[in-house]
């Protein structure tokens, strides 16, 4: 076993996580879960940012990750508010029941 972890491992990990996120978005039927899958993808991308910033010995990558976090927070707030509204109007979170723009 190598003494140091190859970068490719980290990147592969992020790839796997990203794919999992996509899968979740494709196959889950609950809006909230799909939303969480998006967060998962974001995290995967964040990991690559940090890895590359480690590789380049520059803090910028981490800063990008930081901004991704901020945006994710804003997104979560608004998105969940929207979900609340949707639930109020439709009384369901199943995306397949939400395929029309107005009832």
């Amino acid at each position: 076993m190598p003494q140091a972890v190859p970068l490719s491992w980290y990147l592969a990990l992020s790839a796997v996580l990203f794919t999992l996120g996509v899968a979740g978005f494709l196959f889950r039927r609950n809006i909230v879960t799909m939303f969480m899958s998006i967060e998962l993808m974001l995290n995967a991308v964040n990991l690559t940012f940090v890895v590359i910033s480690y590789r380049l010995r520059q803090v910028d990558g981490q800063i990008f990750t930081f901004f991704v976090m901020v945006v994710a927070a804003a997104e979560a707030a608004v998105g969940l508010a929207i979900i609340l509204t949707v639930f109020k109007n439709r009384a369901t979170l199943q995306v397949d029941d939400l395929s029309t723009m107005k009832d």
């Binding site: 996509v22 978005f25 494709l26 196959f27 799909m34 995306v95 397949d96 395929s99």
Partner: protein
């Protein structure tokens, strides 16, 4: 840095305050703001002019780039030279007086704040026009004053005639503005800039073109613009109707400032005109024709404001004659004096109308000499000035113009003299009809409040002593020397003309009141024609307006709009529906399907770039 921008900024501020909050403000606050801002900017003008002494060369201030498209750069630049200084003083000074006057005149009108907001807005645009350092910014002011004139003519928008007059003014001005904008395009095309400085420096490379060269065309197009704004033949028709607006508006916009914008513009473009003699001849010709033509109409009008309206047109003609014959200084000088006495005439007329509770027909006035003494004496002064009686302001300015006209060609001079005589006649006719004899109306007159008479007095002093200003001499450095040695013969002629006009008026309307009808009966056809303003409006209506309307309705609306455009639109709509029907199959509204599509795209991109060797 003299912070020229403050000059227009102040009235704009006033406009914003009155226009936005005016509804809630008390009247005192409203007119305090309006007049106050104008007064402040007048003071600032004084300070600036004094600070910039002797102002031999233009003082330019560049603030920021307004438009920048490739080589096309228009800065928000203001400039001040002697010409500008004169205009600034006139605009802010007279404007201030008229603001004060309006406080009294509009006291009982509705839409008080609206009126003052519009006035301030007008001041802003007018000052922008005057201060602009390039043609486009000038054009902005040009259009802005047009807008304000429209708003103020139609101030009593419940009156159909008022709104019609407003529309007429606006539309007729459009024609002129069209010419102006064409001129701007040509200028930019040829000089690659619209800055006055740049353009006029660029002119050095050109030699005066004798034929219909570029410069001549530009000059003529500018002239078209000027005729529109300054109510010259053939576009003067809107000005008499513009009298529908409140009298202070007629005084400020349609006598003192806005209508003189054309003259200012031509004087501003003097270097260009000097290289386009043909254009200059046109200017002079149109000016003189307008002067004469309008004077004849003015002689027989009975509505006091219309009389002064036509006299304004004719005096503007004089100014055009002046600048057209190369006496730019004289033209501007006459502009200044005219601003004084014509504003005074209008304000006086307003005071009379005010006194007679809205009566405008001179035949139902009379004998106001004793009832409204201040108005009478001030208007008398104005009348003396406009009919160029010796040693009044009008005397000097008009004389200079006539002299330069004479040096151009005696014909111009003699026509000018005749016009001068007519001017004297119709003005004093008005004076006699209004102030002498016995009151033929029923309204019991009363003198206006001091807030109205004070401006009258100030203006009266100015129009009597305004000749002392020596504007044209001061403007010498700006314009090439116009060789016009004083000539006692000419002087005598013009004085004689003036006195003759006055005398005739006295004979007809005071000594022998029966005579006018006899004269009218003798020269029936002429009289009728003049009274009907030579049916110009009707001719325009028949020749221009009605065909236009017909064409628009029959061809453009029923033909092109309905058939072609609507047809095309609807057809497109139908096609879109058909296509959408196909595409709708993809729009299942199911997020996960969309996600799948996105994924498909992402993967294909990834393969294209990453795997098939986009990367490394």
């Amino acid at each position: 840095m003299q912070h020229l921008w403050i000059i227009p900024a102040l009235p704009l501020l006033g406009f914003l305050i009155d226009g936005l909050a005016g509804r809630r403000l008390p009247k005192t606050a409203i007119h305090a703001v309006a007049a106050g801002t104008v007064a402040l900017s007048f003071l600032w003008v004084l300070k600036t002019v004094i600070a910039l002494q002797p102002l031999q060369t233009a003082h330019v201030e560049r603030y920021f780039d307004w438009i920048r498209v490739g080589e096309f750069r228009i800065g928000f630049d203001l400039a001040a030279d002697r010409l500008t200084a004169v205009m600034l003083l006139v605009v802010t000074g007279v404007g201030l007086l008229i603001h004060v006057y309006s406080i009294g005149y509009m006291a009982h009108e509705g839409g008080y704040y609206r009126f003052f907001a519009y006035l301030n807005l007008f001041m802003f645009f007018m000052l922008t026009l005057v201060l602009a350092a390039n043609f486009l910014l000038m054009f902005v002011g040009w259009e802005g004053v047009g807008l304000c004139s429209y708003l103020l003519i139609g101030f009593w928008f419940r009156r159909k005639s008022a709104t019609n007059a407003a529309n007429k003014a606006f539309i007729v001005n459009r024609i002129g503005d069209f010419g102006f904008s064409l001129a701007l395009f040509l200028i930019f095309l040829n000089f690659k800039s619209l800055d006055f400085g740049a353009v006029f420096n660029g002119l050095a490379g050109w030699r005066a073109d004798t034929g219909m060269g570029t410069l001549t065309i530009i000059g003529l197009l500018l002239l078209v613009g000027a005729t529109g704004k300054s109510a010259q033949l053939p576009l003067y028709v809107w000005l008499p109707d513009a009298m529908e607006g409140p009298t202070p508006v007629s005084a400020l916009i349609h006598a003192a400032t806005m209508v003189t914008a054309g003259v200012y513009m031509i004087a501003r473009a003097a270097p260009l005109y000097l290289k386009a003699p043909i254009a200059m001849d046109w200017v002079a010709g149109i000016g003189l024709a307008t002067a004469f033509f309008a004077a004849t109409i003015g002689m027989v009008q009975t509505d006091i404001k219309r009389v002064f309206a036509y006299s304004t047109v004719s005096q503007l003609g004089y100014m055009f004659l002046g600048v057209g014959t190369g006496a730019f200084g004289a033209g501007i000088f006459h502009l200044v004096t005219h601003a004084f006495f014509k504003a005074l005439l209008f304000l006086g007329a307003g005071s009379v109308i005010h006194a007679l509770a809205g009566e405008q027909d001179m035949r139902r006035m009379g004998g106001l000499r004793t009832k409204t003494p201040v108005t009478f004496w001030t208007m008398l002064a104005a009348a003396a000035a406009i009919s160029a009686l010796p040693f009044t302001s009008g005397f000097y300015s008009k004389d200079e113009i006539l002299v330069s006209a004479f040096h151009r060609s005696p014909v111009l001079f003699w026509i000018g003299i005749v016009t001068a005589a007519m001017t004297a006649f119709y003005v004093f006719r008005a004076i006699f009809l209004v102030f002498f004899g016995t009151c033929r109306g029923e309204a019991h007159a009363h003198e206006s409040p001091p807030v109205m008479t004070l401006p009258l007095i100030v203006l009266a002093v100015l129009s009597l002593g305004g000749g002392a200003f020596q504007v044209s001499k001061w403007l010498r450095p700006m314009f090439p020397e116009t060789a016009s040695p004083e000539n006692p013969m000419l002087l005598a002629a013009s004085v004689g003309a003036a006195c003759g006009g006055v005398l005739v008026a006295w004979v007809l309307y005071w000594w022998r009141p029966a005579l006018p009808d006899i004269v009218a009966a003798r020269l029936k056809w002429l009289y009728v024609a003049a009274v009907n303003k030579y049916k110009v409006d009707e001719i325009y209506g028949a020749v221009v307006v009605r065909p236009l309307v017909a064409v628009s309705r029959e061809v453009l609306w029923k033909g092109i709009d309905v058939e072609v455009i609507d047809g095309a639109v609807n057809g497109t709509g139908r096609r879109a529906l058909g296509l959408g029907g196909l595409l709708r199959l993809a729009q299942s509204g199911n997020i996960r399907s969309y996600a799948t599509w996105v994924l498909l795209g992402a993967v294909s991109l990834l393969i294209a770039l990453g795997v098939l060797g986009g990367v490394r």
